[in-house]
């Protein structure tokens, strides 16, 4: 899985508390040193076959503090949060939570690294909530397609959905939408510890 041309040079006495591992420990309470690389997480991961870095490799790069490669990897966006890894890890480690935390770090530090379709989806989805308090699926699909550029994928499904009464064409907004707006504002402001 090596891509870098320079060998990893483990910096002199990198204090443990400035590493990416330390950041993760701070956010999740999980110390990546705990993982002993058994690979059981990857073995059960439904997305492993599509990932360039498998779940255990994500944790390994964390242990090696290979920040750039890890944060630029598409794999951290492929996780479905199905919790299979977390449920099965023999070390009571929680890779799913670690991956979530990594995503958050990327979004904060370098949002340009998020794969376009994925960021499009999440943005579209969260926009829906921010606007209406709930997800209005037709709006979600439309907004996602505009953001992702995947304009024509799935268009044939719209009539089928409509015919089955499964797509509402107008959004329904909740009453206390100001609550939701405030939540969004404050959560965006709150720097994770």
């Amino acid at each position: 899985m090596s891509t870098s041309s320079q060998p990893l040079a483990l910096s002199a006495g990198t204090p443990h508390n400035r590493s990416l591992s330390a950041q993760i420990l701070d956010v999740t309470g999980l110390d990546p040193a705990r993982c002993y690389q058994c690979g059981k997480c990857s073995a059960g991961c439904p997305m492993a076959s599509e990932m360039d870095l498998k779940t255990h490799e994500i944790i390994r790069l964390l242990q090696l503090d290979m920040r750039e490669r890890l944060l630029a990897s598409e794999s951290i966006w492929m996780c479905l949060t199905c919790e299979t890894c977390t449920t099965r890890c023999p070390n009571v480690f929680d890779p799913a939570a670690v991956i979530d935390a990594l995503r958050e770090i990327v979004l904060r530090e370098n949002p340009g690294l998020v794969p376009r379709r994925i960021s499009a989806f999440h943005s579209a989805f969260l926009d829906q909530i921010r606007a209406n308090g709930r997800v209005f699926e037709f709006g979600l699909v439309a907004s996602y397609k505009l953001r992702s550029g995947a304009l024509f994928a799935d268009v044939d499904s719209v009539p089928g959905m409509l015919a089955r009464g499964k797509l509402a064409l107008a959004p329904r907004r909740i009453e206390a939408i100001q609550d939701i707006r405030r939540i969004f504002e404050q959560c965006a402001m709150e720097r994770p510890r």
């Binding site: 870098s4 060998p7 483990l10 002199a12 006495g13 390994r60």
Partner: protein, 672 residues
């Protein structure tokens, strides 16, 4: 000649279902020499045994054959019954018509025929059985322990506490072995000296332990219970009976720059020295190779050079002309506990199969040290007072790289075995380092982590999770100098990442090897050893501390790489074996051993060559005047285990194994 009784057992239905026992008994009754033949439901039951006893008396039997289960099951039972009725127990034998007949066949007629055949074999064989009586060998109830490391110390103390005398032979000037060099010990991290020193003192003071330090075993004769050992007491140049350990000589010796073996070359000693302050016995030894006086003598200088030590010694204990002396001890058992040495990566290796590591600079790069050197650096009583400092410039290393499996698991340049303890001591080293140098980084290259002991894996996890040692999976390709650092080039196979580290210090976890000279000692003891010189146990599972030579035991790292808990457990096991052996004045053994016919033996000694136990000895036949007539074979009853290989080999059929003589076997075959 014979009056044989045959007893056929039904074993309830077990035999009776497929074998017509009555018919077998009847057929056997018709054989010549059989005077009594019956069948019975349960022969091993009390009434069954009574039946035998009664028949022996009633019919005056001189042989008993029980056709029943496997002799492994009940031979002892029936022999005891026979003996109780006054018949020599070795005139009773079993024919196996259960495991080897009724249980493996269905056809009743066939099984019955076969059962007859099997019993007939034994009936014919027993006609040639001789009454035999158990052999008794006198036991000299004192033990010899060779090697005064923790294993030897433990064994000696256990035996002495058990009430028997022990002679402890240590080749160095002090006991203690490698454990005395260690700083703190896994898995509990207690201080090695603190737990070892009291035991060493106990050895010195024990009334039943005779400590012979600076001594070596010269030769061993005899056999279990009756060994005679010649011990060489090497010349210390000091009269032990006079020296009071005051240390004046050491203080005044001008020759102070001799690299100390105890400090693994990281510190210095004088020419007359005590290896470490807690040494037992606390008596110096004069290193003649490095003493000015002896160098002067060697050069032929007429005038005496130096001699300061003798001048300052108030006790006049120093004896420059002392010679090696020899003593002989008689012991009944021997424990070998000679421990280990470490592999070194240098070019000059004493064995052809070892090569050293050119890619690691053959040990010439400063600040590339081995595990024992690290122990000395970490030891509070070590050359740096417990500070981790580089040997080259005394700086505190901020980045240490530990390499595991150096020389171990390496068929090309080292040994193929795993040294078993290094994974643990490397984890320990990273912890000690972390405790002492908080901003330091320990990086470990490992291949597997082998930590299979109670609390061991948890210990390694602590090193990783709490002391934040970074473990990289892989073997390092090369170590090269890079300014005053060492460039370590490796790969982390888990991530596939090449890794290059500029380390301040590199510690090699080098392989554990047996002590030099072990093979010649093993030959003196007739104990076998493996390709690498580790002594062989008699059986890896069931007789792990015995050797193939009766009365000789192994403990500690001389048998295989062992840590302290293992070494001590083995030592105590050997002690219990020895105390068990010593619990009787005589050893009782089954008499199924070989016997030489002195008339016909031609003295070819083929038997001697094939005997796996070295039980065949040479016996000189002399006439009345004491003139040697011939040399023939004789079997040492204490040593022979009764395999019979000699008999099958003897060209003149002069050596016979009791219980399985040619006559007996041919009789059985003839009954076919």
């Amino acid at each position: 000649m014979s009056r044989i009784g045959v007893f056929i057992c039904h074993c309830g239905e077990n035999i009776g279902r497929t074998v017509d026992c009555a018919q077998v008994a009847q057929a056997m009754g018709e054989l010549p020499g059989v005077v009594h033949s019956v069948d019975y439901k349960y022969m091993c039951s009390d009434p069954g045994q009574a039946l035998i006893k009664q028949a022996i008396k009633e019919h005056n039997l001189d042989g008993v054959v029980v056709g029943a289960c496997s002799p492994h099951m009940h031979e002892k039972t029936f022999r005891k019954a026979a003996a109780a009725a006054g018949l020599n127990p070795y005139l009773c034998e079993m024919a196996n018509i259960r495991e080897h007949c009724s249980w493996i066949h269905e056809d009743r007629a066939e099984a019955t025929e076969k059962a007859k055949g099997l019993v007939r074999f034994i009936v014919e064989k027993i006609k040639y059985n001789r009454p035999l009586s158990n052999i008794f060998i006198p036991v000299n109830r004192r033990a010899l322990v060779i090697g005064g490391g923790i294993a030897g110390i433990q064994a000696a103390l256990d035996i002495a506490d058990g009430g028997r005398e022990v002679i402890l032979v240590e080749k160095e000037s002090s006991i203690g072995g490698h454990m005395s060099q260690l700083s703190e010990t896994f898995p509990t991290l207690d201080c090695s000296q603190c737990i070892l020193t009291p035991r060493m003192v106990e050895v010195a003071q024990h009334p039943r332990i005779k400590l012979l330090a600076y001594s070596e075993v010269e030769s061993v004769d005899g056999y279990i219970g009756n060994f005679e050992v010649k011990i060489r007491q090497k010349a210390r140049s000091i009269d032990v009976s006079k020296c009071n350990g005051c240390g004046e000589c050491t203080k005044n010796c001008p020759n102070k720059k001799i690299p100390s073996e105890f400090e693994q070359g990281l510190g210095f000693r004088t020419a007359i020295y005590v290896p470490f302050p807690q040494a037992v016995p606390n008596i110096p030894v004069l290193d003649r190779d490095n003493c000015a006086l002896f160098k002067g003598r060697a050069k032929g200088v007429k005038k005496q050079v130096c001699g300061k030590c003798a001048t300052v010694c108030g006790r006049r204990a120093i004896d420059f002309d002392q010679q090696d002396s020899f003593i002989t001890e008689k012991v009944g058992a021997i424990i070998v506990a000679t421990g280990y040495q470490l592999y070194w990566i240098g070019k000059e290796q004493e064995s052809e199969i070892l090569h050293g590591y050119g890619e690691y600079g053959y040990g010439t790069i400063p600040d590339v040290i081995d595990g024992l050197q690290f122990e000395r650096l970490a030891s509070a009583s070590g050359p740096t007072g417990g500070k981790i400092l580089r040997p080259s410039d005394g700086k505190e290393p901020k980045k240490i790289v530990f390499l595991q499996c150096i020389g171990s698991r390496d068929r090309a340049k080292g040994m193929e075995y795993c040294s078993k303890i290094c994974c643990m001591y490397v984890a320990k080293h990273t912890m000690l380092y972390h405790h002492k140098v908080h901003d330091g980084k320990a990086i470990v290259f490992y291949m597997d982590i082998r930590a299979g002991g109670k609390g061991y894996d948890e210990f390694v996890r602590r090193a990783i999770e709490e002391s934040h040692a970074l473990y990289l999976r892989g073997r390092v390709s090369s170590l090269t100098r890079n300014g005053d650092t060492i460039r370590v080039q490796g790969v982390d196979t888990l991530s596939g990442e090449p890794v290059s580290i500029d380390a301040d210090m590199v510690v090699l976890a080098t392989a554990m090897r047996p002590q030099p000279g072990i093979t010649s000692l093993a030959q003196k003891l007739s104990v076998s050893y493996d390709l690498h010189g580790f002594l062989n146990e008699a059986h890896p599972k069931l007789r792990p501390v015995e050797t193939n030579t009766a009365g000789i035991f192994v403990a500690g790292a001389c048998q295989a790489p062992r840590d302290i808990p293992d070494s001590v457990a083995m030592a105590s096991a050997t002690a219990s074996k020895v105390l068990g052996l010593f619990s009787n004045e005589q050893l009782e053994r089954e008499p199924l051993i070989a016997r030489v016919d002195r008339q016909t033996c031609t003295g070819c000694f083929h038997c001697e060559r094939v005997c796996p136990y070295g039980a065949v000895e040479r016996f000189e036949v002399k006439d009345r005047k004491g003139n040697l007539i011939k040399v023939i074979a004789e079997v040492n009853q204490g040593v022979c285990q009764g395999c019979g290989t000699c008999q099958a080999t003897c060209p003149s059929k002069s050596i016979e194994l009791d219980g399985f003589t040619d006559e007996q076997i041919f009789a059985a075959v003839n009954a076919l």
